[in-house]
């Protein structure tokens, strides 16, 4: 989607056009959900958080000034919701089991041991570092985009990426040693 297309869809969504907003959600859900899945570590909750982030974003769309990209702005909303949320897990269990079923059918990709080791190591990272790793290493956001989303200085983001990557690599190596 070009920036012009995005601006046109945002303008239409501001006027209440649900089709335009659906197109925006469709274009950016992968990045926002991917980030929150890695940050929250709990799949179904992460998708609920992403949904809440998109709903909140539509309600606050009049406040979007366009200084960052739409996906960065929604990711920032998602990050703040995820950080503050204290949620019950009942609603999430159904989708969790659906995802687990889906994972059983995945033939390609990372070995299960690697995924578990990385997931555990991610869970042990401090919140900000985990968010930076999820954004930059997981979803390919630039360092400056991550700084904008998380309201952190660029230098802090860079050091979080370096340290986070080291810790995750160490977790993989430790897992090999077992």
């Amino acid at each position: 989607m070009t920036p012009d297309d995005e601006a046109r869809l945002i303008a239409a969504a501001r006027k209440g056009d649900s089709r335009a907003y659906a197109a925006l959600v469709d274009a950016h859900q992968q990045a926002v959900r991917g980030f929150l899945r890695r940050f929250a570590g709990h799949w179904a909750d992460a998708d609920d958080l992403a949904q809440e982030a998109f709903v909140t974003a539509w309600a606050k769309l009049s406040r979007f000034e366009g200084r960052s990209s739409f996906r960065s702005w929604v990711s920032g909303i998602g990050f703040r919701i995820a950080r503050d949320a204290k949620r019950a897990h009942g609603r999430a269990q159904v989708r969790d089991s659906a995802w687990l079923d889906e994972q059983d059918n995945v033939e390609e990709g990372a070995p299960l041991e690697d995924r578990i080791a990385v997931q555990r190591a991610m869970a042990e990272l401090p919140d900000e570092q985990r968010a930076v790793v999820a954004l930059c290493l997981g979803e390919g956001f630039s360092h400056s985009e991550a700084a904008e989303i998380l309201k952190l200085p660029l230098g802090t983001v860079k050091s979080h990426v370096t340290r986070g990557r080291e810790r995750l690599l160490r977790a993989l190596e430790t897992d090999d040693g077992r």
């Binding site: 649900s18 907003y21 659906a22 959600v25 469709d26 859900q29 992968q30 959900r33 991917g34 899945r37 890695r38 998708d47 992403a50 949904q51 809440e52 998109f54 709903v55 539509w58 309600a59 995945v106 990709g109 990372a110 690697d114 995924r115 080791a117 990385v118 997931q119 790793v133 290493l137 997981g138 979803e139 990557r165 995750l168 690599l169 993989l172 190596e173």
Partner: protein
Amino acid sequence: MDAEARLAAALGAASAPARDPGFTLAVIRAAEADRFKAEALRSTLTSGAVAAAAACLALMLAGWASLNWSGVQTGILGAGGIFALVATARLMTQRLAPAAVR
């Protein structure tokens, strides 16, 4: 596979699908449900405020009427007189009009 590649693959396993109409639909439905709730709340609050204002006005009027009962009686009689006068005038106009045509 080296550790960097393994890390990339392990992180990539948590990615979301590129297209997910179900998710998009869920977002739009949730947003519209939120809007409906907000509209309903606004409408309830508006009706409540109007009802409260009307009740206050009625109470004030009742209080004033109990303190000035003789004035209220005069007012009611005056209004009744005017109503009777207007009704008589209308009745007469209606009866006289066909006679004038003839």
